[in-house]
Symmetry: C2
Subunit: 330 residues, 2 copies
DNA sequence: CTGAAAGCGCTTACAG
DNA sequence: CTGAAAGCGCTTACAG
């Protein structure tokens, strides 16, 4: 059912119906407007976004490109983004890129062909050439969770480096000297930042760093076991993400290492079960909801004014949630 | 940059460019096609989905309406859906409804105004009037995770009832007679099914059911404490979701009840940290990835043939992941 | 093999 | 206050 249908049924022109639909009532007689509204309700007319869009109107659609769909992080973030977008009358077009740079470029083109009004993106560890052009044209883009050093793009990130540094310093304060950092994918911006934070803290304390890489469960077990059996094994572990922090647990158990007595542990990224573990886990909590909220806010500001020349970068502080795995009384 | 731009630049008509773009090369000279392709690449032409859509072509967009964005369940499901949709050349338009029936109706209209080709929906506990009309017109809809009894709509669900029944029977086999079921939101289809499964098992064993409602953490603590202090307290607990299963833990600890010796526990919905809890939790695992995959598959089949009269309902079996909290040696 | 015309459903000027 | 015309970027017939 189109404008034309309503117009015919109401005995007026499409223009009149259009005016009524858009609430430009001042320019239409009360009676006409009333009548048209009735016909609209009867026929169940819904304006066609596609037609509006073709004319050049905004599609009221934003793209959400995600490098990964990781667990709680993603669901909280997506919820917030969806909710705020809805409140502003926008829809969210989803596009997973699976940490793949080529997929990212092609998904970007796809989103653009759908004429999104703006883009929220958790970047892959790639070169992001596609962004250059869009950015140059003033197309609204906000990077979230990860940023690009080489481009001037608005971004909202977590203080990964500082959070990791604080976690490491907390372990240092407990008297630990041999603190190892367990990580998996250092190509990802946020992970590399966390590693840097750990390194900063260790260097500031005049200590050697000990980077333990574990790609998957088995690899984590292997790498960690080897470190544990070395001459000066770590007495504390900092894990750059919560999955890793969990995978550490059985390895320590196998080596008869009690947390926190024989091994202190802090994980980056809090998770619902953290307080319920045998040794409730101390974690670095990320303000996920706020991350999504600020990103949406920034994007809408950019959409409203495409001509701002400034670039905004918002870094959100983390919070060390002290439980018992770090050695605190809890 | 439009078809017209390319046509002008290439010195041909828009029609010729259109034919080349769509790969109808047989109807264009090799040379012309080659030349046009070069210009397309130079200008970076991308076909406009919006214009295509207005003409009546499919938008190659599917809607994904979600009643909730719950944790791992959602992220795994969304990942699968997005991935399969992408493979088929489709995009996903997201719309959260927050368990709110009115929001659901308005979001549906919004999606329709964007001319989605089909809809994947995790329904709210409402009446879903909006679906009636769409369904009657043969619009492709697949309900996932929750279904509607009152409408003939394709659906992919989890065997909630059977899974809950099996979990309860497992506790029964461990010799428990007083098994309580902890739940929160019984209005949600999947939860009510799980409760029914519990009830079936209890009734089949000739035992009394004991339904414990806990809306939030505190309420869970209160309700559970009361049950624990009663004359014949439960010796086993079945929790209808994993958040509840976690919230139970500190309450039992407060009452000095060890799992599984003094209290057996099984939770519905597995989660990453389940194996790492003090008493590794036995859970009912849901085939989440398969849920999303089957739903997408069903939807695409419906999109390809809108005129099938049959209604498909796929119920996916759960798996009891036996760890130690149920009383098994593990 | 190639192109001019018409139309998808709207809205922006421009007339009455 | 109301309406006829033109155009957004494509593609489906229909001509040459």
């Amino acid at each position: 059912v189109t404008l034309e249908d309503v117009a015919r049924e109401a005995g007026v022109s499409a223009m009149t119906v259009s005016r009524v639909v858009r609430g430009m009532d001042k320019r239409v007689t009360q009676e006409t407007a009333h009548h048209v509204r009735k016909v609209i309700a009867e026929l169940g007319y819904q304006p066609d976004m596609v037609a509006k869009s073709l004319r050049g109107d905004p599609t009221r659609t934003i793209g959400l490109m995600l490098a990964s769909f990781g667990g709680y992080f993603f669901s909280n973030c997506a919820r917030t983004i969806d909710e705020l977008a809805q409140n502003a009358g926008y829809s969210v077009l989803l596009a997973g890129t699976h940490e793949n740079s080529d997929a990212e470029a092609s998904q970007f083109n796809m989103l653009m062909s759908h004429r999104i009004d703006g883009l929220l993106v958790v970047l892959t560890p790639g070169r992001h050439e596609f962004l250059k052009h869009a950015l140059a044209e003033g197309f609204p883009v906000v990077a979230l969770e990860r940023e690009v050093a080489s481009m001037a793009v608005d971004s909202v990130v977590i203080e990964n480096r500082l959070g990791a540094r604080q976690a490491t310093e907390h372990l240092l304060q407990h008297g630990h000297r041999r603190i190892a950092c367990v990580y998996n994918e250092s190509r990802i911006y946020s992970v590399s930042e966390r590693i840097k934070g750990y390194e900063e803290a260790m260097k500031a304390a005049g200590l050697e760093t000990n980077l333990l890489r574990g790609q998957d469960v088995e690899h984590v077990g292997h790498t960690l076991s080897k470190a544990l059996l070395s001459n000066d094994p770590p007495t504390a572990l900092f894990a750059t993400n919560s999955v890793l922090a969990l995978q550490i647990l059985p390895v320590l158990e196998k080596h008869n290492l009690k947390i926190p007595e024989s091994m202190a542990v802090i994980g980056f990224d809090d998770f619902p079960a953290a307080p319920y573990l045998p040794s409730p886990m101390t974690t670095v909590r990320q303000p996920i909801t706020e991350l999504g909220a600020r990103a949406v806010e920034l994007l809408f500001r950019k959409i409203a004014d495409r001509h701002t020349k400034s670039t905004t970068r918002i870094a959100l502080a983390t919070e060390l949630i002290v439980r018992r795995s770090c050695g605190c009384a809890g």
